[in-house]
């Protein structure tokens, strides 16, 4: 029984193997528009995290509503017409907008290897440089912790706490100090 099943599967397996090898030969960079589809997250490689929707400014997404009509300009410059409220304070000496936002598909971000990712997976982008935080975040050690300690844990996106353009937390007002014991009276 076993041997027959194996023989039956031989042909499809061989075709799959050939296709796989062929796909590896296609250079990805030449045709940006035809970049390979974003790798779907499989259960075996990178697990999905139950994150809330990305905290977009209302109305800003999908970005392609405006950008599909515009010609992409990959030249690094200071923006004068739009998005002037965003002042990049996040490795601004080394990078600018299009190092994270994809030039040709503004509804996506892109990883260093060119792979496009959705905004819901922006943690993969942050994790490229902030690998230690990403490792900790995946286990629940980095970031705000809510949910069930022995059940479903709630994860937040990096951007739910850190503004991606200016991620460092600003100091905030503390809640009141405790009452001194001398002031506790009858």
């Amino acid at each position: 029984m076993k041997m027959e099943r194996m023989r039956g599967a031989f042909a499809p397996a061989a075709i799959a193997l050939l296709l796989f090898l062929a796909a590896g030969w296609v250079p990805a960079a030449e045709h940006p528009k035809a970049s390979p589809p974003a790798k779907k997250e499989g259960a075996s490689s990178q697990p999905q995290y139950a994150v809330p929707t990305p905290p977009f400014t209302p109305g800003i997404f999908p970005c392609s509503d405006c950008h599909k009509e515009m010609t992409p300009n990959p030249k690094r410059r200071e923006l004068k017409d739009e998005h002037t409220n965003i002042v990049l304070n996040h490795a601004e000496g080394q990078r600018w907008c299009l190092d994270c936002h994809d030039t040709y598909n503004r509804d996506r971000l892109h990883l260093v290897n060119g792979q496009l990712i959705r905004f819901e997976e922006s943690y993969r982008l942050c994790g490229q440089c902030h690998g230690d935080k990403y490792r900790d975040w995946k286990v629940g050690v980095h970031g705000k912790r809510t949910g069930m300690w022995n059940g479903e844990k709630q994860y937040l996106l990096c951007v739910n706490c850190h503004n991606p353009h200016d991620p460092r937390f600003k100091p905030l007002a503390p809640m009141p100090p405790p009452v001194r014991p001398e002031a506790i009276r009858k």
């Binding site: 050690v141 905030l172 503390p174």
Partner: protein, 308 residues
């Protein structure tokens, strides 16, 4: 060992019940309290230590308390007595590289655990320390109140009950009103505590607090979801402290403690120390943890670490 935390840790002698009934008869004759006081006052006076209650007696006690609190706070209050979940040991992680001293944990705890507002009781104390001196408790300041935190040159360390493995507080209690449960949480039976405050003298972390006055808990702010050993409203003259939100965590699934959930910078971590996949084991393996006052051999389950 009395601290092993089993419900039936003490030899309960049946004759005690008979003796108690006899005493009840005598004291009844002495009109103490007033003879027309409600039966609940008598039951409350003669109530045994939590660990000695039979399941029926426990049900009766919880029902009595629920009635009392519901009447007092004008809402439906539940008092549960969930036992420890088997095979787990709770641990806590506190990331000192993240804490900014905002004190949101302090007030979240107050709300969740029904602490008295007046006189003010806080189970969590946030200490402001100097970066140059490191963790030096003699140099700590808890009344800091700048416009914004964190302040330059300072870091922040919250302290609450460390849920020690060798608690110095439980061994000194003269009536065994406080003990360590099997899941590692040190608890107090508020109906058994006589208020001698020896445990407060024994605690090296200043984690225990006393009800010097009748608690001032506004009914509107009262959390009605309570546990007998945890956040139910405390009477006057007894000791209380952090219980790792026993009312939240002893469920399957169990919620995180209130302080863990509120922390805006994710400095607080909680979980089962015995779970190899859990946050706590990850922290112990990958971050360098330390504990407070390790020379006292208390073996706290509250681990401070630096994630960065």
């Amino acid at each position: 060992m009395p601290n092993e935390g089993t419900r039936d840790a003490h030899a309960h002698r049946m004759s005690r019940r008979k003796m108690m009934k006899g005493v009840a008869a005598v004291l009844g004759a002495m009109a103490l309290p007033a003879k027309d006081a409600p039966a609940s006052v008598w039951e409350s006076f003669f109530q045994k230590n939590f660990r000695e209650l039979s399941p029926e007696e426990l049900k009766g006690v919880l029902a009595r308390l629920e009635k009392e609190y519901s009447e007092k706070y004008k809402k439906a209050v539940t008092v549960r007595a969930n036992p420890p979940i088997e095979g787990l040991l709770f641990g806590y992680g506190l990331d000192l590289s993240r804490c900014i001293g905002c004190r949101r944990c302090v007030y979240a705890c107050v709300g969740e655990n029904n602490q008295s507002r007046d006189p003010q009781i806080h189970w969590i104390r946030v200490l402001q320390l100097n970066k140059e001196r490191g963790v030096d408790l003699e140099d700590a300041e808890q009344y800091y109140n700048p416009a914004k935190v964190p302040e330059k040159g300072h870091f922040y360390m919250p302290v609450q009950c460390q849920q020690c493995e060798h608690p110095p507080c439980t061994k000194v209690c003269p009536v065994q009103a406080t003990w360590k449960e099997r899941d590692g949480i040190t608890v107090v039976d508020y109906n058994w505590c006589i208020g001698c405050r020896y445990c407060m003298a024994a605690c090296p972390y200043g984690a225990r607090h006393f009800n010097w006055k009748k608690a001032g808990l506004p009914p509107a702010e009262m959390n009605p979801d309570t546990h007998y050993l945890g956040n139910r409203p405390r009477p006057i003259g007894v000791v209380e402290k952090c219980t790792f939100c026993v009312q939240r965590v002893r469920n399957t699934p169990g919620r995180y403690t209130a302080c863990v959930e509120i922390c805006p910078v994710g400095a607080r971590k909680f979980g089962n120390l015995l779970d190899p996949e859990g946050e706590m084991r990850y922290i112990i393996e990958n971050k360098r943890v330390f504990i407070l006052k390790e020379d006292l051999n208390t073996r706290p389950k509250f681990y401070y670490f630096y994630a960065t």
